[in-house]
């Protein structure tokens, strides 16, 4: 079995048959990384001794309570903003280089408790600020389908390693599209669960009211398996919902008969790449041919989403990043005076995009501007939420493009932040509303670049989202095509 290519589900079957598959899979991934990652640069760090110890322990594990766990022996890679005890966690920022958390994020605890092996930490935009993984202090990650192009972001490393068969599955975080957009650009599956579905404890915060952790996988079913493990109430996160978690793999059935699917007209506008539009519309037609009821709907406040997002997200970010001040951990510029230490540490520790967002966020919260920006932004956010509430009275699932274009060239948008911000125009509204959404491969451009389609559902209705995504995926072959790296 070519282990590196395996899906999570396939590898699980192999491990059930033969425990040594755990070691074989990790070795195969290691070899693949050795050959390919110098060009892709999806990973930031590994912990070889810990990996070896984990493999050893799991291969010898006799306790059926552990060997029966859903992720027993499965290597999972993590975006480098998820805290791992004793393992450097940097957010791809100079200011956190050398920072070793004393605790595991709740999702990491859950992965381990369910038998998973933490395989490696993935590259990302610095503090998840970006849509291309170019703002990492470690340098950009390349798209496995075309090394001159970006993998998307900010979870670009997580998407690229799965697409390049350098990982079986990965976790990312999504504040405005940071899982779905790179999944789309790399031809893999990416899920942003409902806000509150997955504990954020141990996720280094960007926009606290928007952030959500989710899986990047090779198939929809793999994403459901991972979501099953990471979802659920966590007493350590007051925003995590005390809602029961159904078995999402049960929702993965190839049946969309009678499912009401809405296409918001505001998402099919000039600026949307023709090839993307065609692929997404074909996806809708495919589902209609399978018995879904496809209608056009309206989400009238869509045009304000990006503006609202860049008020709310940067406001929260500016506050969340205040703690990186050189006092307790991470990078510190040695200075004789406190204010010099603050200024120099933050000036040298943060990259350009981080500084831009801290400044924007500080500005919108400043006395005299708060009402005009932050408060107004929150009001419009409520209107955007209501758009979705209203739409979900008419339809079960909303189908949209993920990214306006396929993967763009490295460097193409770095000098134009606004163009970069618009990369997330179709994914941001779901974060503002807090609803779950998934990106699934739905085609390729003429240049053989992957295109994704997004399915969004009501709060805590990931089941319907998975159902639509799985049915579509199973009726197509896009997910089987491998990156040419």
């Amino acid at each position: 079995m070519p282990f590196a290519k395996a899906t999570l589900k396939e590898l699980r079957e192999e491990i059930k048959k033969d425990r040594s598959a755990i070691r074989s899979a990790c070795q195969a991934l290691g070899e693949r990384i050795g050959k390919k990652d110098s060009g892709i640069r999806a990973y930031i760090s590994f912990d070889a001794s810990r990996l070896e110890a984990d493999i050893e322990r799991l291969v010898r594990e006799k306790n059926p309570a552990i060997t029966e766990k859903p992720l027993f022996g499965i290597p999972v890679s993590l975006k480098d903003n998820l805290c791992t005890r004793g393992w450097e966690t940097t957010c791809a920022s100079r200011i956190l280089k050398g920072y070793i958390p004393p605790y595991d994020a709740t999702v990491v605890e859950r992965l381990r408790a369910n038998g998973a092996i933490i395989f490696g930490k993935c590259n990302m935009d610095e503090f998840a600020f970006g849509s291309s993984t170019e703002s990492s202090c470690y340098g950009p990650t390349a798209n496995p389908w075309d090394l001159s192009r970006v993998p998307g972001g900010s979870s670009g490393g997580s998407a690229a390693c799965v697409a390049a068969d350098e990982a079986i599955a990965a976790l990312g975080s999504d504040t405005g599209g940071s899982i779905r957009q790179p999944a789309s650009l790399c031809g893999v599956v990416g899920v942003k669960p409902t806000y509150g579905r997955v504990s954020r404890y141990g996720l280094i915060a960007f926009g606290s009211s928007l952030d959500q952790i989710g899986p990047l996988t090779k198939t929809v079913e793999d994403a459901a398996i991972l979501t099953n493990v990471i979802a659920g109430h966590d007493p350590k996160d007051s925003t995590s919902a005390n809602a029961s978690v159904p078995d999402f793999t049960q929702a993965c059935r190839p049946d969309v008969k009678g499912l009401r699917i809405g296409l918001p007209r505001e998402y099919f506008v000039p600026g949307l790449d023709k090839e993307v539009e065609t692929a997404v519309k074909k996806a809708a037609e495919k589902l209609a041919s399978m018995g879904a009821i496809v209608t056009e709907i309206s989400l009238p406040h869509t045009e304000y989403a990006v503006a609202v997002y860049y008020i709310v997200a940067v406001a929260e970010a500016s506050s969340n990043l205040g703690r990186f001040d050189g006092v307790q951990y991470g990078y510190r510029y040695p200075a004789n005076h406190l204010s010099d230490m603050y200024f120099e540490t933050r000036d040298r520790g943060f990259g350009g995009e981080a500084k831009r967002r801290i400044l924007l966020g500080t500005f919108v919260l400043s006395a005299g501007y708060y009402d005009a920006y932050y408060l107004q932004g929150q009001k419009v956010r409520t209107l955007i939420k209501r758009d979705f509430d209203h739409a979900f009275r008419q339809v079960d699932v909303i189908l949209t493009p993920v990214s306006p274009t396929p993967a763009f060239k490295i460097g193409e948008r770095t000098e134009d932040p606004l163009a970069m911000y618009l990369s997330d125009i179709f994914t941001i509204p779901m974060n503002l509303a807090g609803i779950p959404a998934i990106s699934v491969p739905c085609g390729f451009s003429k240049e053989n670049l992957p295109i994704g389609v997004q399915f969004a559902a009501k709060h805590f209705d990931e089941e319907t989202m998975f159902r639509a995504a799985y049915a579509f995926e199973q009726s197509t072959d896009f997910h089987k095509k491998k990156a040419g790296v």
Binding site: Y103, A105, G202, L203, A315, S318, G322, R323, Y329
Partner: protein, 477 residues
Amino acid sequence: MAEYESVIGLEVHVQLKTRSKLFCGCPAEFGAEPNFNTCPVCLGLPGSLPVLNEQAFLYGIQIALALNCRVAERLKFDRKNYFYPDLPKAYQISQYDQPLSCGGHLLVDMKEGQRKIGITRAHMEEDAGKLLHEGRTGSVIDYNRAGVPLMEIVSEPDIRTPEEAYAYLTALKAILQYIGVSDCDMEKGSLRCDANVSIRLRGETKLGTKVEIKNLNSFNAVKRALQYEIARQTDAAVKGEAIYQETRLWNDEKEMTLTMRSKEEAHDYRYFPEPDLVPFTVSSDLVEDLREDLPELPAVRKERFVKDFGLSEYDASVLIQDKALGNFFEECVTAGAPPKRASNLIQSELLGMIYERGETFHTMKTTAVAVADLIRLVENGTVSGRGAKDVLAGMLETGNPAEDIVREKGLAQVSDESVIAEAAKKVIAANPKPVEDYKNGKEKSFAFLVGQMMRETKGKANPALANKVLRELLGKL
């Protein structure tokens, strides 16, 4: 010359006596090894999140109710952003536009009568760590205090004199101790106070330019700093100099306030709603339950002491200031001591002795029941009032009952008439001149002769009996 009045408002921070901190499970205790009581949450490590301590929330509501405040229908927290090394997240989780409670008041007893001081608001927030400056080698931080729950209680600018400010703080401290939510120990920092003060011409209704005073380490410092600041501002006003809006620090040694920062240097805290804590509805049933569960508050207790025990307003107000003191007094009365006598003994003797010994009602060796026994011995003439003081000292020293001390130290009053008559005869024989004066109608001489009798009996003679016997013998001369 124009007459000025001062306008004072106080901001008091009290640490709540919860077992754990406001947003994590670390102990909130004082005095642990530096940075021992810390975790990722109170250290503000990346990725950590706050979870509200329910007990702190309940204490907060109790404080609000005891201060006659309206309790908010919704509990919402905000972030107050600023940089300082003792603030691990670079923001403090506090409450901004929707405080836990507002619109209350507090009654303060002054010689001139009762004053009602408005409470603008009382809100919950977390404490910061402690920065210790170690000379040239740099500064170190102890985060044990970071995240300890605080209530910030802000008064209306209703206070007019430094003495009123002192009385307000005393009354507030008593209330907080009565409901048992805080130690209110300024030395340990569990109660801190900043003062805002301005002056204006008497009769003026507009407020003057206010100055904030920080670094007030005792109620006394609050009083003295206000006295200094009012004099400084009045002096400036009289000279026609400007008073600037600023924050000043009280220097306890130099007995003066010094500029810390001007209005222009004030922080913009960039408050916004804390996204990590979901606002929730405060159940009105819960508030009503807590209201019913409130213990008797000092003001009510004072009225009861006056009404039920016949104490003076003054005596009652002294006894209720400290909950343990009030309890001690009541236990004495319950054990049979006449209220006024108990009040007198406690106020004139016991309080001073405890203070001198550096003890409290909790640490001292004797009990209220034992003190009631002592009062009984005074009542039945076994011990004189003068002797009671020595007995009490012995009780505090050893913890033994009054009877034992009386016996051991031979402090029993002499009520044997023949012994007293013997002493009286000796005194009369030894003091012919005063005796003569007394016979000639000089009452003062009688007091002198009684004094001589006490001396003769080493203070043990029953004073009433000594009086009686001496008068009889003198009358027979």
